[in-house]
Symmetry: C2
Subunit: 235 residues, 2 copies
Amino acid sequence: MQTTPGTTDSASPDSAAYAPTDRTIPTRSADRASYDRATVHAILDEAYVCHLGFVRDGAPVVLPTLYGRVGERLYVHGSTGSRPLRMARGTSEERDPGLEVCLTVTHVDGLVLARSAFHHSINYRSVVIHGTAHQVTDPEEKRLALDALVDHVVPGRSADSRPADTKELAATAVLSLDLNEVSAKARTGGPNDDPEDMGLPHWAGVVPLRKGHEALIPSEDLAPDIKVPDYLLEL
Amino acid sequence: MQTTPGTTDSASPDSAAYAPTDRTIPTRSADRASYDRATVHAILDEAYVCHLGFVRDGAPVVLPTLYGRVGERLYVHGSTGSRPLRMARGTSEERDPGLEVCLTVTHVDGLVLARSAFHHSINYRSVVIHGTAHQVTDPEEKRLALDALVDHVVPGRSADSRPADTKELAATAVLSLDLNEVSAKARTGGPNDDPEDMGLPHWAGVVPLRKGHEALIPSEDLAPDIKVPDYLLEL
């Protein structure tokens, strides 16, 4: 059951691009869309949380959550009692029905100020993934997924922390979502004012948003002989 | 039709808190939930994009989009041809059916590194809103909404740009969503390692993420006599 990350229906993982589908071809600004695999991976790897959408009692639910990527497969985790995890697990009559999801990742890179109100925008990069998430039941894949989740927060971190024990593993459910039906979208550059507005007396340009992190805050109870590890200095 | 921002069903806008519902009481970490109106407004006002979820052909769709707030009402906008806008408008047989949505806003404030992999987390603040979005048909409310959208990107900006003209207004559709069924959730502080892990030799603490913006980038074609306005210096 889906234990081979990289197996996709619509495009070979070795190909450079995802195959567009009805759901991943945008109705607007199609020139901003991309199906390039490396572009999609880079956007996914840079963000800290995704927004996971699913349908519950006919209504949409969108929750922010951590995730990790291993090749062509994403993982999200949660308590075994959480709603999306329970829904993906199914009932005893209906094993592993999966959960139809839309997983979206967005970076806001800058604020775009135009002379005209209409052309105000943001510079962004986003990835939208449609598909069916399945519960990960293979213990080896579950461990791999949890390592990926920790390494997504800080690359290299999973090797420098105590791995989950049997009790923690049992309390954690993991969903997998294969990268099949995927698109990226991005806006870059300055404002696109109409020619007749160029003489208006309003400042126009881009406010780039800050990235990166501030100074680390060690735990109050951290032993004084524990130095900041290299992978954090490189963050 | 919904032309009075602030009219809510489940709680008076004058009350300090939103009334919890089945959908806004979390199954997990209920101690992190809040229904405080000022807390919710502050989280909404600080973010640049929301993630708007809706159901299309039975499947979830989650799209990042700009938004604005006026009192107890949120506005999102888009092309009159965009899918969620068309869906909210309905057909000639079914006028103004609205579109059931879940609108989520998330700030990632810091990365939480624990001694144990299991307790890795992020510090975040999020707001989740459930409700039915309706198309704004009143011209006056539509203008107010578009001003709110621009001022959400940069407070004070709508007064310093050319307002939308008739053609631009006609090409833009606006959805409103009242703040009725709303919850906030937040995690703050350091890692919550188990007592037996405190002696492990792993660095533990928080990596605070940077906020704010880098130096402004004026448009290449900006007239040299146009100075940076005060509201941008205060950003």
